[in-house]
């Protein structure tokens, strides 16, 4: 579909600069509760173009750009900074650590993966009994995280119980796809940075880079209470399970599909999304010829779950970039989906207005 020329809005493209920023964000470490590295990168990017920038009690980074018009709508965009990872919980000899998962990671995605631990990103690997030495019966059983260990090699003196770890995958391109750890949700962070830099004057834009989403939408809850915007958008990365079934039967449970554009939420475990906003966003997408998909209603949740129930309620919508292999060492997203996403959100911010809410919620 040809994109409609629009005089007023110059739509952004994913250029080398955008890719470099995503690479930097993906490679940085920010497991839930320890988002400092990510916060530092964002601060560097946004300090010069923010009217206000602050960090709250839980560690959420809040950046504000004022409108130049009076009575402008206050629009919050939330993107969580944290990623799933590990925490060292017991030390054996020779740099071997027992660990716990932080956030939702499938035990099947652990054994043999390269990781990095501690403040200095000490390299390690999640070790497991090799195929040579295991019995067929043992190989039928999933190796649980508490039976696995992180091996950092002897001599890692500065590591201690309570230190965080993350997958160690370096960001790279796979054809027209992008692969890295923590793309959930550094893709949202990278997008929000760009949106903030190019924010329109017609709204007060409040960028909330939230903490501890992966362990229960915690940063979003306190930041929304404090900010109480007129609208909230949550930008995140959402799982796609869109490959064909082994027997070639029709896949009816894909959630989202790569290459089909940004995924708009209708329902998840925590939220029934405001249909006034769904209508507004899908209408804009159609008008501007931007591909979008509705995420299949199903379990899961985003920061919206906490935000929309804040105080007397906040009209909220989640829009995500679809990604395969979420919460593993290597998530894969499509560059074209990201570009569509950035363009869609740019148009949304240019057009959002309080009139959307004059009609009652359906």
């Amino acid at each position: 579909m040809a994109k409609k020329a629009n005089q007023s809005i110059k739509l952004p493209l994913i250029d080398q600069e955008a890719l470099s920023l995503l690479e930097k964000l993906s490679n940085a470490v920010g497991v839930s509760g320890s988002e400092g590295e990510i916060r530092t990168i964002i601060k560097q990017e946004l300090e010069s173009c923010s009217d206000q920038i602050s960090v709250d009690t839980l560690g959420n980074l809040i950046a504000v750009r004022h409108a130049t018009v009076k009575n402008a709508p206050r629009v919050m965009i939330a993107a969580h900074m944290d990623e799933v990872g590990f925490m060292l919980v017991d030390k054996d000899e020779d740099g071997i650590f027992k660990f716990q998962k932080v956030g939702g990671i499938d035990d099947r995605a652990l054994a043999g993966k390269a990781v990095q631990v501690g403040k200095n990103h000490a390299p390690g690997v999640i070790g497991a009994c090799p195929v040579h030495l295991s019995t067929p019966a043992e190989r039928e059983v999933i190796m649980k995280s508490d039976s696995l260990r992180i091996d950092t090699g002897p001599g890692s003196k500065d590591l201690e119980v309570g230190d965080y770890g993350s997958f160690a995958t370096k960001f790279h391109q796979l054809g027209s796809s992008l692969c890295g750890k923590a793309l959930d949700n550094r893709i949202g962070v990278a997008t929000l940075i760009q949106l903030f830099k190019n924010a329109p004057d017609s709204i007060e834009l409040i960028a909330a880079f939230t903490v501890q989403e992966e362990v229960g939408l915690r940063g979003a809850e306190t930041s929304a209470f404090n900010l109480m915007p007129d609208f909230a958008f949550v930008i995140d990365c959402t799982p796609a399970n869109d490959q064909q079934a082994w027997d070639k039967s029709e896949n009816t449970l894909y959630r989202t599909r790569l290459g089909h554009g940004p995924a708009i939420y209708t329902q998840d475990s925590r939220t029934l999304y405001d249909r006034r906003l769904i209508k507004f966003v899908t209408g804009l997408a159609q008008e501007h010829g931007i591909k979008v998909q509705l995420r299949q209603p199903a379990s899961g949740g985003t920061d919206a779950g906490a935000i929309h129930l804040t105080q007397h309620g906040i009209p909220t919508l989640s829009i995500s970039v679809p990604g395969r292999y979420a919460h593993t060492a290597a998530m894969v997203i499509r560059k074209s989906d990201w570009e569509d996403y950035l363009q869609l959100m740019t148009i949304v911010l240019q057009n959002i207005n309080s009139e959307i809410l004059t009609e009652e919620r359906p």
């Binding site: 029934l272 999304y273 509705l294 199903a298 309620g313 009209p315 009652e360 919620r361």
Partner: protein, 337 residues
């Protein structure tokens, strides 16, 4: 009253899209309320009276949403796959009919010949008479509620969405019958209860009530092999002591008992080991709210044929009217343990 109940139950209002049922209730209560608002979450809030000496801000909440289904995929032959909105049991879905918001009706089924156990919701499909994804009038994200006509069995009444339109009926009739009260009463017809008690939470935050009472159905145990002795249909409105979301405030329980005596109606005490109502959310807003729940015993909850007893309903209205019309004592002084 039966006619209004029939209208209330037959009107659509799946969680998150309560527009139709909201419009019906609004029309019904408009002449009796002093102020009516609709908030961000779609809650319909009707205020009756202003707080006077000895009075309190009282919130009475009945949820207007009902369970249903949302389309998750249209396959190449036009079958609609779905996700549940609220606690839909696949057992009650076979052969059931649904109506989508755009008016399309269809029948639910699954490939039973290949089935050894109860299917999951994801295995069900809805046949709307389409032959391909292109000619299917339903799109991903569209919602549907169950279709089942209202059945009047004399003392007993059966319908889909009795949970919680029966609570809405009790609240509406209570609003109509209150003549004078020291209390500032907020009748909330709440949204999204079935998916996690959401509308009650935000509306309670805004109202900041001093007492909160939910009106909802509870599971009756008087079917052939019911697993608990209480409550029963026709035994009177139930005063909830606890459920999965709430331990009712002792003084709210006491106020309900007293109101029952004043109104001369029989009541039954209710203890439920699971589930929750709007009261569970109300009690936890801001710095906490004394809360309780008046329940109507109901058979076959969350099936398309939920049954209640007329006497329980009438008596609940009498009890709630008495309670809302008088000062409510909340002091815990003298309550031990």
């Amino acid at each position: 009253m039966k006619k209004l109940l029939e209208e209330l139950t037959q009107t659509s209002g799946i969680s998150g899209e309560e527009k139709e049922i909201r419009a019906l209730i609004r029309k019904e209560i408009e002449p009796y309320a002093d102020e009516i608002t609709v908030d961000v979450m779609g809650n319909l809030i009707a205020r009756k009276g202003k707080k006077k000496v000895g009075g309190k801000r009282l919130m009475i909440s009945a949820h207007m949403d009902e369970i249903g289904l949302m389309a998750s995929h249209i396959d190449e032959r036009g079958f609609v796959y779905v996700a549940a909105i609220g606690g839909v049991s696949p057992l009650t879905c076979f052969g059931a009919r649904v109506r989508f918001t755009n008016g399309t009706e269809g029948v639910i089924y699954a490939e039973t010949s290949k089935m050894e156990k109860v299917p999951t919701i994801a295995q069900l499909f809805i046949d709307v008479g389409a032959t391909s994804a292109e000619d299917c009038p339903v799109k991903v994200g569209d919602t549907a509620v169950f279709v089942r006509p209202f059945l009047d069995l004399g003392n007993r009444m059966v319908s889909k969405a009795m949970d919680d339109r029966i609570g809405c009926l009790v609240a509406i009739e209570t609003l109509k019958s209150i003549k004078k009260s020291p209390n500032e009463i907020y009748f909330v017809f709440s949204t999204q209860e079935e998916v996690g008690i959401r509308g009650a939470r935000t509306s309670a935050y805004a109202i900041d009530p001093e007492v909160g009472i939910a009106v909802d159905v509870t599971l009756s145990a008087d079917t052939p092999h019911g697993d608990q002795g209480n409550p029963v249909l026709g035994g009177g409105p139930c005063i909830k002591v606890r459920d999965g979301s709430l331990i009712a405030h002792p003084k709210v329980i006491a106020a309900m008992k007293k109101a029952g005596k004043n109104a001369g109606v029989e009541t039954q005490m209710e203890v439920l080991r699971f589930a929750g109502t709007d009261a569970g959310a109300i009690q936890l807003v801001r710095s906490g709210v004394p809360a309780g729940c008046l329940s109507i015993a109901c058979r076959y909850v969350h099936s398309p044929s939920e049954m209640v007893d007329l006497k329980d309903v009438k008596d609940a209205i009498l009890l709630l009217t008495d309670l809302a019309s008088k000062p409510i004592e909340l002091s815990l002084d003298g309550i031990e343990g």
